[in-house]
Amino acid sequence: MTQSPVPNSDIEQLFQQVYGRVLANLISHLRDFELAEDVLQEAFVTALQKWPESGVPNSPAAWLTTVARNKATDRLRRKTKWEDGGDAEIILEKRGVEMTPADEIPDERLKLIFTCCHPALNLDAQVSLTLNTLGGLTTAEVAKALLVPKTTMAQRLVRAKRKIKQAGIPYRVPATEELSGRLNGVLHVIYLIFNEGYSATSGENLIRADLCTEAIRLATVLTHLLDREPALNKDAEALGLLALMLLHDARQSSRTAADGTLVLLEEQNRNLWNQDKIAAGIAILDQAMALRDSGPYQIQAAISALHAEAKTAADTDWPQIAMLYTGLMQLEPENHIIQLNHAVAVAMAEGPLAGLALLEPLADSLQDYYLFHAAKADLNRRAGWHEAALLAYQAAVELTQNEVELSFLEGRIAEVRGSLN
């Protein structure tokens, strides 16, 4: 044990780091989500009282697990005394729980991930619950991150936890035959968390980096856990998603200018790109592709890697990117946004007219999507058709609430108007 005094903020940070792991272990032990959360919260209060004087124990996770388990046993003992004079240990035994010593706590987070991302919960609940339990974010923090009022978030979390208990949503890694489908659901939730952080749907702050960091952390934990399960194979798409997020995240600081305005990929200062994250992303993508089980996350990561590897915007390998989008379109033929991105890549490879021809058939299905109009405007501007560009920019303005995006579009409108006069 260390004996130096520890400030509360350090303890809180430590607590958040080990939260998911300790909670997963407690749920596995107690088979009760709410009880596990309650006693972990109580153990944290005890830690706040004790650690500043005694110092932080060697294994904070094991310490918290032991204290929380004892509190749970006390609670169950009190409860059973009321009910039928039963014994807490017997109840736990009946639930098939082994009283393993807490100093060797197994990492049970994989089970918790699958519980939180169960398809019987709606997607909003899955995202919120994953942040709350695995990420260790408080209700207030999740609410703030997802731009939802705190009371709404509290209700959403309570409802989801109640459903887990009452509807019998299991706490285990799914059987092999359902694993790949369920894993896709988990990856989707992590990707949503990342996207929510990367491009906030409304508000002033385009990037909420904390959510991106959290999504990357979750995907890292997930790939490690999958790797460790002897019964499971390495999952190419899980690695692909991690690579994709790292490669996107590497460009984060160049996406907004000092005044908060949006900077498009081709105008970004490439010296600001985080080369460590790019190298890590590419290495993980190589691992994924070696498994020879291609999928949409890997293809998107490969596209992102091509952008990351280009020294200047003009060096970008657009023909290769257009080809990768063709691959994505084959996997998801109904996804019009992929078709939009393909059209833009073709425009960059072969000229704006080729791109505009591919945009035309998408006009109906994407008429409410602001990036369709922004892309159409940009290609018209590049083709020198300023009037058509102006109209499309104006349509895009009508469709976005993000202030950073709005100010970008207004800048372009002023520019195109200038060329018209």
């Binding site: 509807a167 019998g168 299991p170 799914p174 359902e178």
Partner: protein, 118 residues
């Protein structure tokens, strides 16, 4: 844990169904009955209902019985039958609900039964 599987589907098809169609469907349900029996999730509780045109809805208000013709909600998809299954957890319930023949053209709502203590 006990779950009720409520089978909802559009009743439009029934009018056009031939005797063979109906026979084939009954066959599918018989086979499903064996499947759940063998899996050990059957409770013996499950019924098919006559179409919603035969439904009567009753309310008791201020001591008076109010009776109306038809189902309580006029929706396109109507309750057509149910099973009560005894499953390990919702994953097992989902697995066997998905095998109900009606799930292929209608949908199955799974609800856990309330456990009444004592």
């Amino acid at each position: 844990m006990k779950y009720i599987c409520l089978i909802y589907s559009s009743e439009e098809g029934i009018e056009h169904a031939t005797a063979e169609d109906i026979q084939a469907e009954i066959g599918e349900y018989m086979a499903y009955g064996q499947t759940i029996e063998q899996a050990g999730v059957a409770t013996g509780l499950g019924e098919a209902l006559l179409p919603s045109a035969t439904a009567t809805t009753v309310r008791m208000r201020d001591g008076k019985t109010l009776t109306t013709d038809g189902p309580f909600a006029e929706t396109k998809e109507q309750l057509g039958g149910f099973y009560i299954l005894d499953c390990e957890d919702i994953d097992q319930a989902i697995k066997y609900a998905a095998l109900i023949p009606g799930a292929k053209y209608g949908c199955v709502e799974i609800r856990p039964l309330m456990e009444i203590p004592g």
